[in-house]
Structures are given as C-alpha cells and as structure tokens.
C-alpha cells in the first residue's frame, strides 16, 4: 500500500503458522500445528489462554476452584498443559494481551503467501515493558477471533446495570463478581441458561429467564439434537439448576422496555407472538441487573482485512467462507471457530484442530488422513446441531416494533431509532452502509460491533426485504481492527 510495503516484514519474526485467538479454536489450532512440527506464534488479546468461553480467574492469583461454572473444563486443562509444554520447548511463541490492528497482505507472487500481523497492546502497559514484537509474520495464518453477544436495542438498554449476558458471565467466571443482587436474564438461545444459573449459584436472586423463542422449535430437527448427546445432558443440568433455584423460564417472553434514571430499576415484560410482535403486557418487575443476549456475533474484522470472502449464515451472522479444510478464499488464510459460523466450543475445538492439521500438511508435514476425516465428521454433526439451535432461537422478526422514536440504537454516537429511520425516510438511505454514513450509527468507539447487526436489520426491515450479507459487511470491514494511537499509525506498516 506504499512504496515500502515489505520493509517491516524484514524485521518482524517469521513463523510457519500464526494463530490469532487463544480460545477453544485458537488453542486447539496452535497446539495441533506445533505438535505436527510447525513453528507457531499464538497472539491473544486475553491475559491468559481460554478465550471468553474458558475465562477463569487469574492463574497467578487463584480464587478457589478455577473450573467453577465451566462444562468441558478438562478439554481446556488438556489444551493448556500442551500449550505450556510447547512454549517451554520453544515450539510456540505465546503473545498474550495483544490485539492485531492491521493485517498486511503478501505481495503478488509471494510464495508462501505470508501475512504480517501488526500488534498493539490490549491496554496501556499490557506488555509489561517487554520487548515483544510489534508485528509477526505467518506463512500460514489461522484466524480464531471468536465472537461476542449479539445485541438488540430496546428502550432503556443504555442504562447502567444493563449488560451483555456474556459480560455478566465474564465477571462471574473471571472475577467471582456478581453484577447485581436481583437479576433478570433475557433474549434468546441456550446461553441464557448458564448465565442465569451462574448468577443464582453466586447468590443473586434471578427473577426470570425470558426466552423470546420457544424450545418446541427444537422438535423441527430432533435428530440434530440426538446427534450431539453431550448437549442434551448439558441442557438437562441447566433445567435442573433452574428448578433448584426456582427460576421461572418464560418462553415467548421478552423485556420490551427498561426503566430507571441513572441505573436500572425495573423492566417491562411482554408476551410475544411467533413473529416477535407484542401480544400482551406481562407485567413490570423490579431488578437491579439485566443480562441481555440474542445469540452471538462472530468477530469478522480480521477475516475481511485479508480480503477473504464472507457470507450470511443461517443465524443472520456474517461469517467467513471456508472449505472442508478450514481454508478461507485467500491463500495462506485459515479460519476456525465462531468466525465460520456460531456453533459453540466443541465445534470450535474440532475446527481449530483441523485447521492446525491442514496448515501443517500444507507445509509438508505428515498428517494422518484418518484424523482429518474424523474431525470433518465431528464438525458436520455439530454444524447440524448448531443449525437446529439457530432455527429454534431466531431474533424476533418484529423486534423493532418494541422501539420508541427516542430509543438509542448506537450507544457510542447516541443515534436514536428516529434518526436511523429518518436516514431512510428523509434522506433516502436504502442500505446499512448509507444509513451509517448519514445518521452515524456504528461510527463510534466500538465501530458498530454492538449496534451493527441491529442497524443492518433495521435498514433491511425499512426496505421491506430480507437481511443480506451486504447489510452486515460495512460493520465487519474496518480500516483498523483495533483502535491505535497516531504514533503507532505513524510507525506502523507505512513508514518503518
């Protein structure tokens, strides 16, 4: 992109495989590739391995049983032990607390097609003053960026005390912090259950779980659920815990307004019809914590930064297009985990392992074809399960009927529903990108990670058409994948 595009790569350490993300997919990818003989660098934004799914208290300052609130902890413990061993033997260079802010593509004709990842610290001083590299180059790059809670704006959702369900869970799993005393958990999908039971086990009074969908949706593909018996056991455990803690599980029910002045005081519940329209009011409940989640949004910034193709998945998420061996459409780029389609940790581990094996094989390591096939089978089974889950827990089609004109859609730039609608009705913006340019939702600090999905849905709904991948792409495509200082930019890939 400048006259000296390759200069920095001359100084950035080069690896056979660079893995981004140390959650279920990234950990599995890194240890698998390293054990197959590759020199691996593992870059992660977290303090310690595990990602969001296996978030746990600081390992240097343990807080009792670190596996508290986790399901397949032994899988993580195994991966972590392998990681430690490979780091000791210098097969893996592990770089925690770092975010990739820029992906430098290979020059035309480069073989292998190596990408350089430019790094910034997750917070000021996060590198502890070490001389960690500002960039690393991978002959192959495996992107395992994971995802985060998908959100829908609802009246009052910007009040303190309203949190993403995953954020409430992160406080519990990472810090043993209970974010409120009297909580309600709402949205859609099975992830609401561990959040509710986790809060209750930590001593909070959980007044209800509000599921906008209905679990009868699962009966549409019972074989998919039967194919993954572990998930059935998990669901049963949560159901038992809900009963034990006397937490009502209210289906086809949503929080349609949140009230309070400087902090949340109460929520208004509504019964929904199949399409998500409000059928009738279902009362007001006093709470001091609201945990919201509507499935997950995969982090796609790094995937789009490589120029790899994306598509709209069954749950309306933008995801990477990958082949049966986790290859993206750009040579040298592999993707595993939620970024190929939201499907949970077991699937992510299988995809990570497969990506690790394939990158090793693509670099001429001997890899068992039997292992590859076994992983592909497991992936297919879990994909089917994920599809059944997404079908049973859709975002309510008429969710936007709950909004008031003044409801905040973009929390960063404080753009109201009225302003988003005005961009279309008064200014003629017919797609999400034009709405973003005119009304500015998604232009703030988070760059649309929180409101991007909702803004895309609103733009499509105003036009009376279905959501398309093009509605979702403007949010996923960022010039920089993480905020950086002007100083870093000046020293960055352009002028080294």
């Amino acid at each position: 992109m400048t006259e000296h595009p390759r200069d920095i790569t001359a100084t950035s350490p080069r690896y056979d495989v660079a893995v981004v993300g140390a959650g279920p997919a990234g950990l599995a990818a890194a240890v698998t590739a390293a054990e197959a003989g590759c020199r691996v660098v593992l870059v992660d934004a977290g303090q310690q391995p595990g990602g969001q799914y296996w978030r746990h208290p600081d390992e240097t300052a343990p807080r009792g049983d670190e596996s508290l609130g986790h399901h397949d902890w032994s899988t993580f413990a195994g991966l972590r032990t392998r990681l430690h061993g490979l780091v000791r033997r210098q097969r893996i260079t592990y770089l925690p607390r770092r975010q990739v802010w820029f992906v430098q593509r290979p020059s035309t004709g480069d073989e292998p097609p190596a990408h350089t990842l430019h790094l910034t610290t997750a917070y000021a001083g996060a590198d502890g003053g070490d001389d960690g590299p500002d960039a690393v180059t991978g002959d192959a790059v495996i992107l395992c960026p994971g995802g985060y809670d998908r959100q829908l704006p609802i009246p009052g959702w910007d009040l303190p005390g309203v949190m993403a369900a995953g954020g409430v869970q992160a406080l519990l799993k990472g810090h043993r912090t209970v974010a409120g005393r009297r909580a309600i958990v709402a949205g859609t999908g099975p992830f609401l259950l561990p959040v509710a039971t986790g809060l209750a086990q930590a001593g909070a009074d959980v007044v209800a779980v509000c599921e906008a969908g209905s679990i009868t949706g699962w009966s549409r593909d019972p074989l998919a659920a039967a194919a993954v018996p572990g998930k059935g056991r998990e669901a049963l455990e949560y159901a038992t815990a809900l009963i034990r803690h006397r937490i009502p599980y209210r289906q086809r029910t949503a929080i349609t307004a949140i009230r309070g002045t400087d902090t949340v005081q109460s929520v208004e519940l509504s019964r929904l019809d199949r399409e998500g329209r409000i059928r009738k009011q279902a009362g007001t409940v006093d709470v001091d914590l609201v945990a919201l989640g509507w499935g997950f949004t995969p982090s796609l910034e790094l995937v789009t930064a490589t120029g790899a193709a994306t598509r709209k998945d069954i749950d309306d998420s933008l995801v990477a297009v990958v082949d049966e061996e986790q290859r993206a459409t750009v040579p040298g780029i592999y993707v595993a985990g939620e970024a190929t389609g939201v499907g949970g940790a077991v699937l992510a581990v299988a995809e990570g392992e497969l990506a690790g094996l394939i990158t090793a094989r693509d670099q001429r390591a001997a890899v068992s074809q039997e292992s590859v096939r076994a992983l592909q089978k497991r992936i297919t089974r879990h994909r089917r399960f994920a599809a059944a889950m997404h079908t049973a827990h859709p975002v309510p089609r008429h969710w936007h009927d709950w909004l008031h004109p003044e409801t905040t859609v973009c929390r960063c730039e404080e753009v109201s529903y009225q302003q988003v609608c005005g961009a279309r009705d008064d200014l003629g913006a017919g797609d999400a990108r034009t709405v973003k340019l005119m009304a500015r939702p998604g232009m703030g600090w988070c760059q649309g990670r929180v409101c991007g999905f909702a803004s895309a849905k609103l733009a499509a709904a105003r036009e009376g058409r279905a959501l398309t991948a093009d509605d979702l792409r403007p949010t996923a495509k960022q010039p920089f994948a993480a905020p950086i200082s002007l100083e870093q930019l000046a020293e960055g890939p352009q002028h080294e």
Partner: protein
C-alpha cells in the same frame, strides 16, 4: 523466554491471592490480585464512571469483554482505558470522566 512468553501456572488452590487498594476519584476501594478494574468497581457497587458526550448519559460496563468501549476510564492519568480489561494494581488511581467531556477529549484530565 521473554516476559511476553511467561504465563501463569496455577499454584495450589489454597494460596490466598494478594489484597490491596485502588483509588477511585479519591476513594479507596478494596481489590484482589487478578481482578479487572471493572470488577473492582462493580464489587464496590459503582456502576458508571463516565458520561456520554452529547446527552451526558451515564455509562459503565456493558459487554464486559473489551468489545463495546462503554467502560472507558482514566487509569493513572492514561485516558480511555477499558475497565473490563485493565487489571487492578496496588495504589492505582482511577478517575471518572463526567461534566460532558466525552471519551475523545479527556487528555490531561486527571482531577485526583
């Protein structure tokens, strides 16, 4: 091995983590080693530490995992740090950002 490559190995679960204080707008708050700033504030019952720049609405933790940037806070004079990610350290000075100064223009504003 560079410090970047070092990472914690679980000690015996019986070890008690270190306890210390941080200071939020002049007020001491108890903290435990390994806690994030956001976790320390939440444990103290503090839910917001900045206001938005146009409507002056209170903001605190939302996504809790570094995605939404709602929990920005000034840490030891360094503005715009994500409270959900920054680990608490003994004696750390945390300051709220209110009075309409948004997250983009807090440079040099450390009033404690």
């Amino acid at each position: 091995m560079s410090p970047a490559q070092q990472h914690g190995t679980p000690d015996a679960a019986t070890t008690e983590p270190e306890r210390f204080e941080v200071v939020f707008d002049g007020r001491p708050l108890p903290a435990i080693a390994g806690q994030s700033v956001g976790s320390v504030l939440t444990d103290a019952g503090i839910r917001s530490w900045r206001t938005t720049r146009t409507q002056l609405r209170p903001r605190g933790l939302f996504c809790g995992i570094g995605v939404c940037y709602e929990c920005l806070i000034t840490v030891d004079g360094e503005p715009n740090q994500r409270a959900c990610l920054v680990p608490a350290r003994p004696g750390m000075a945390l300051s709220s950002t209110v009075l309409g100064n948004g997250p983009f223009d807090t440079a040099g504003e450390t009033d404690d």
